[in-house]
């Protein structure tokens, strides 16, 4: 984590970010900074602005005022192609109109790297192959997306984002529709990518205990404002969580790991 004002070290940063939907303001001057190599989770109740913030950070939405800065350059100055080479995005759900195979889908991650003719070269194939190996999707690379389970599908979409060779990976509720085994598998994969390859990761999550277990930094937001920001133990205070989620919550420490665990009181 870095201090406000120390802008040179941040890989992704917002300055005075303002955004709202149809005149209803959501962010009124948000300042946020993510350092290279961080793995952070964005948590907060429904409608708190998690997904919107992620879309502002990826450039899918444009802020009304303020700016997003990616490695020192304003995001608004970058083309979609330049952004895609730096930021990979994993949405909550992916629906494809036409049925592509896993490898075809992963290769779509190379779109921003292709030349005029739009055909993959050896380095594109190598990048896709590596992304599939690290996500464990290489074993079913020729199956159709429609034939995959929810977990396999999400791994494929993560592989596609990795094939972009990004510096930052943004994930929106990547485990929303998955069972406990696949949730652990996805978070384990994210932590591995973060530790081994130094990939900066920011993910939203409704599963706050899972986020606390895998992320070293938790950002708690409500109504477009950051309510708490720090290590899981600092953010998981019963009074803060109960107030933000408007539900009485208790926090206990996991006996084995010492990590905080929130549950209804």
């Amino acid at each position: 984590m870095i201090q406000d004002g120390d802008t040179s070290a941040a890989v992704l940063q917002t300055r005075g970010l303002r955004f709202g939907y149809r005149g209803r303001p959501l962010f009124a001057g948000l300042d946020l900074s993510v350092a290279p190599g961080e793995m952070a989770a964005l948590i907060g109740p429904n409608g708190s602005g998690k997904t919107t913030l992620l879309k502002l950070l990826s450039g899918a939405l444009r802020p009304e005022a303020g700016q997003v800065i990616l490695s020192g350059s304003p995001l608004a100055d970058l083309s979609a192609r330049e952004r895609a080479r730096r930021i990979g995005v994993v949405p909550q759900e992916t629906s494809m109109t036409f049925d592509f195979t896993v490898i075809e889908t992963v290769l779509m991650g190379r779109t921003a790297w292709l030349g005029l003719f739009g055909i993959e070269g050896p380095e594109d194939l190598a990048a896709a192959r590596q992304a599939m190996e690290s996500t464990g999707t290489a074993g079913f690379s020729h199956r159709l997306l429609s034939q995959l389970s929810g977990g396999e599908r999400q791994l494929t979409v993560i592989a596609r984002a990795l094939a972009q060779a990004p510096r930052v990976l943004l994930l929106d509720e990547p485990t929303a529709f998955l069972d406990i085994r696949h949730r652990l598998e996805i978070y384990g994969l994210l932590r591995r990518l973060n530790a081994d390859e130094g990939l900066t990761i920011l993910t939203t999550s409704h599963d706050i205990n899972l986020a606390a277990r895998y992320c070293r930094r938790i950002l708690l937001i409500k109504e477009g404002a950051i309510r708490a920001d720090g290590a899981p133990a600092d953010v998981f205070r019963p009074e803060i969580l109960s107030e933000v989620y408007e539900t009485p919550l208790a926090v206990v420490a996991d006996a084995a790991t010492g990590l905080p665990f929130a549950m209804p009181r």
Partner: protein
């Protein structure tokens, strides 16, 4: 992918080798093979179509120079060949435009005819005929230009209506197209009724899609538009692929979506307009051929666009051959043949979608 085999055996519940599209990934060698095969097949179909008709001409008559052959050559090269070349261009144009509309609108049921884009081109074309002072070179250029304006206007209207309602279901877009088509048809019928009928000889045939022998200038124009359009759409192939996941996903993967959409729609509308201004409203080719191509080759537009163009050329050359010879000496408009086959095909696709298959 060397790891495929091993992993497939380790997870037998996922062993779907019977329908695994292995090796479908875009590969230059395979694409050239497919396109070469289709070109060859198109050549055979053109030759076959040349030899059949109300006047029977053998291939040998062409090759052996004699007086009889001169007469045959006049029929073949002066009458039959231009019509076959036009059929090929129109089939190729409607099919590649269909691929583009389906990808950009994220709708496997899209087709220039069903969406009313052909109708828009037809209205422009009819208006030009009604207003253009005389025949001649001007008409060769003015009619397609007006057709282009008509098709573009229809596409823009369709997109604006789609935009205003946010996320639009594919079925809703089809419904909009059908309503637009009906309105355009009424406008066309109004113009034809009010104007001098003698200037619209063959309009009824034209409305359902009819091929006749075009002039060399007309052929040059339609092939020029076709070549430019198909080349552009093929280069947009990967962008069209990525659009399959939606606008936002395409942007996040590095595609300039507004630019892709405008270039793609302009190119597809240009091809459609050129085809419609010469051959009228031929339906369902742009729906059936891309679907056939996708079943055979997969959805990768970098191959699907040129392959559908060739496949569409083959389909329309054969359909027009049938239109010429099935009930000879009576010739039926080729649009009747494509609609008789295409209508049920559309219904089948629609039913399959309802059952959960895209």
């Amino acid at each position: 992918m060397p790891s495929t085999g091993a992993a497939a055996t380790s997870t037998p519940q996922h062993d779907d080798a019977h329908r695994s599209p292995a090796g479908r990934r875009f590969a230059r060698g395979r694409s050239l093979l497919v396109l070469g095969f289709l070109t060859l097949l198109l050549g055979v179909c053109v030759l076959f179509s040349l030899t059949v008709g109300s006047t029977s001409v053998g291939m040998m008559d062409l090759l052996i120079p004699s007086r009889a052959a001169d007469e045959s050559a006049a029929i073949l090269l002066g009458v039959r060949l231009p019509r076959i070349l036009l059929a090929a261009a129109v089939g190729a144009g409607l099919s590649s435009a269909g691929v583009c509309f389906q990808a950009l609108l994220r709708n496997p049921l899209a087709d220039p005819y069903i969406l009313g884009i052909s109708g828009g081109a037809g209205l422009g074309s009819i208006l030009a005929t009604a207003l253009a002072p005389a025949a001649g070179l001007a008409v060769i250029v003015v009619r397609p230009t007006a057709a282009f304006a008509g098709s573009i206007a229809t596409v823009v209207l369709l997109l604006l209506m789609a935009r205003r309602r946010g996320r639009l279901l594919p079925e809703t877009m089809i419904l909009l197209g059908v309503v637009m088509n009906a309105t355009i048809m009424a406008a066309i019928m109004f113009i034809v009724t009010m104007a001098d009928f003698s200037r619209y000889a063959g309009t009824m045939y034209w409305l359902i899609g009819n091929l006749s022998s075009p002039s060399a200038g007309e052929l040059a124009l339609v092939y020029g538009c076709l070549a430019a359009g198909v080349a552009v759409l093929t280069l947009l192939g990967q962008g069209l692929n990525v659009m399959s996941g939606g606008e936002e996903m395409a942007t996040q993967l590095g595609v300039n979506v507004p630019r892709l959409r405008w270039i793609g729609l302009l190119a597809a509308s240009l091809i459609t307009a050129a085809a419609v201004s010469l051959a009228g409203l031929i339906g369902f080719v742009g729906l059936m051929v891309p679907h056939l191509g996708r079943v055979w080759l997969g959805p990768d537009n970098r191959l699907l666009v040129p392959a559908s163009a060739l496949l569409g050329a083959i389909v329309l050359v054969m359909a027009d051959t049938a239109a010429r010879v099935l009930f000879a000496p009576t010739q039926i408009p080729v649009g009747v043949i494509t609609a008789l086959f295409g209508g049920p095909c559309f219904l089948w696709l629609f039913a399959r979608r309802g059952a959960g298959a895209a």
